[in-house]
């Protein structure tokens, strides 16, 4: 299996990369970790004429906490999310979901920017970034814009990014005090694509009442999916098993997941509800996500 021929570019700086994207437009494809793009090229499902490798650009691998946000460069790898104490402290949900992404070999190469740009609805990071109210930074030769994760994804493997725009980073607002996160997913085997998954972030006030809630599902729709109506059930209430069961029922009612050879829509609907309850329970009890 060999990809069709292409020209390879290894820009050393972001302006150089943006210049190449502007010059080649639709002919060009940015190469991040390559863990989704290269299989597609090996199958000849993708055949970019110009491949712009972002790996040699050091500024894209940055990680910094400033102005109330955690800023991650697009080339921050999954392995870094797993291991970095800074990420674990400021965006524990990202450290929590990272071990669910593929296998050790995939995580050594795959990147957060690549995962967002690829926009696979079964991917963990898009849903996690959405649950954290994250913003995606897009840049072209002519300008920069920040897009809320919620508005970034358009459909299967499709985002609002223009052909000459690169995902250059992600901003995660530091969570308010009292915020807890949880993640649950079901896959056939370790590292396989998730049949269903749910990331949650809940903030509790001093009296223990939930003041803010985010629920983001994966493998639930053509994009990662927030469920605001189920989130509203949580707000103003103290956490309890009864409350979480109510949310479970609401999530199952509200989602309209796809049917495919791996799982029926009915199975996904039911499972998303259950995973949401478990993620909430784990979050408020401070438990780490478990793999199954």
């Amino acid at each position: 299996m060999k990809p069709p021929p292409f020209d390879y570019w290894a820009p050393r700086s972001l302006p150089e990369a943006l210049e190449l994207m502007a010059r080649y437009g639709e002919e060009a494809k940015a190469l991040a970790g390559g863990q989704s793009l290269v299989p597609l090229m090996n199958f000849r499902l993708a055949a970019p004429r110009q491949l712009v490798d972002l790996n040699p650009i050091p500024e894209l691998a940055s990680c910094a906490v400033e102005d109330g946000v955690l800023r991650l460069g697009a080339m921050v790898r999954h392995r870094f999310l797993e291991r970095s104490p800074v990420v674990r402290e400021h965006a524990p949900l990202l450290s929590m979901v990272a071990p669910f992404i593929g296998y050790p070999q995939i995580r050594a190469r795959g990147t957060i920017g690549g995962s967002l740009a690829h926009a696979d609805p079964a991917a963990e990071l898009p849903a996690a970034v959405m649950a954290l109210d994250g913003r995606v930074q897009l840049r072209s030769r002519t300008g920069t814009r920040m897009v809320a994760a919620e508005r970034f994804f358009r459909s299967f493997f499709t985002t609002v990014a223009e052909p000459d725009e690169l995902v250059v980073g992600v901003e995660i607002p530091l969570p308010p005090p009292g915020t807890a996160v949880g993640f649950q997913e079901v896959a056939m085997r370790r590292g396989d694509f998730a049949l269903a998954g749910v990331a949650v972030a809940v903030t509790r006030g001093e009296d223990g009442t939930i003041t803010r809630a985010r629920i983001a599902c994966l493998s639930a729709a053509s994009t990662p999916l927030r469920v605001p109506e189920a989130e509203r059930v949580l707000v103003g209430e103290p956490p309890s098993d009864r409350l979480f069961r109510e949310v479970e029922a609401r999530v199952s009612e509200l989602v309209d997941p796809p049917d495919d050879v791996h799982a029926s829509a009915g199975y996904r609907r039911r499972t998303l509800g259950v995973l949401c309850r478990r993620a909430l329970t784990a979050a408020v009890s401070g438990k780490e996500a478990t793999r199954r």
Partner: protein, 157 residues
């Protein structure tokens, strides 16, 4: 579609190779350097047979272009045993526990586990299976592989 000259270190030796951009790292190792210990199974990142270490981290060499390895260091299965054929502790444990049947997946599994063991010992069956999750054994001989790794105890490779 111009060629590129790749300068890389493989198993401690410097090489310079002229390649087409679409040549994968796996093909550079096998075809240009004749290091055929690295095997290709699926060529789309699922089977793990082509796992090599890039700057010490395990990666799929079928999902990297050779040009991307310019200036980097690669380790393949050929780097494990000593020049006189002395096996590493991991290889010796594989030998003793019959942890290979047809042997096709073995190079990738040895490289994956060698990288994992550099981070520290794998103490439980769960940890070993987690480390191995990205490698398929078509003979399904996983149990002996797990046994071999667990037999190393606290000893690293």
């Amino acid at each position: 579609m111009s060629d590129h000259v790749v300068a890389l270190r493989v198993n401690g030796r410097e090489h310079e190779v002229r390649v087409e951009p679409r040549r994968t790292l796996a093909d550079l190792l096998r075809e240009d350097l004749r290091l055929t210990g690295t095997h290709l199974g699926c060529e789309h990142g699922v089977c793990g047979a082509c796992t090599v270490l890039l700057d010490g981290e395990p990666v799929r060499s079928c999902l990297m272009f050779a040009v991307q390895a310019h200036g980097h260091s690669v380790e393949t299965v050929e780097s494990l045993a000593g020049a006189d054929g002395t096996l590493t502790r991991l290889q010796q444990a594989f030998h003793e526990h019959h942890a290979l049947q047809c042997g096709f997946c073995t190079p990738g599994i040895l490289m994956t586990l060698s990288a994992a063991l550099r981070q520290g010992p794998l103490r439980s069956e769960d940890e070993v299976r987690e480390a191995l999750s990205g490698n398929l054994c078509r003979c399904t001989g996983y149990q002996q592989i797990v046994d071999a790794v667990l037999s190393l105890g606290e000893a690293a490779t």
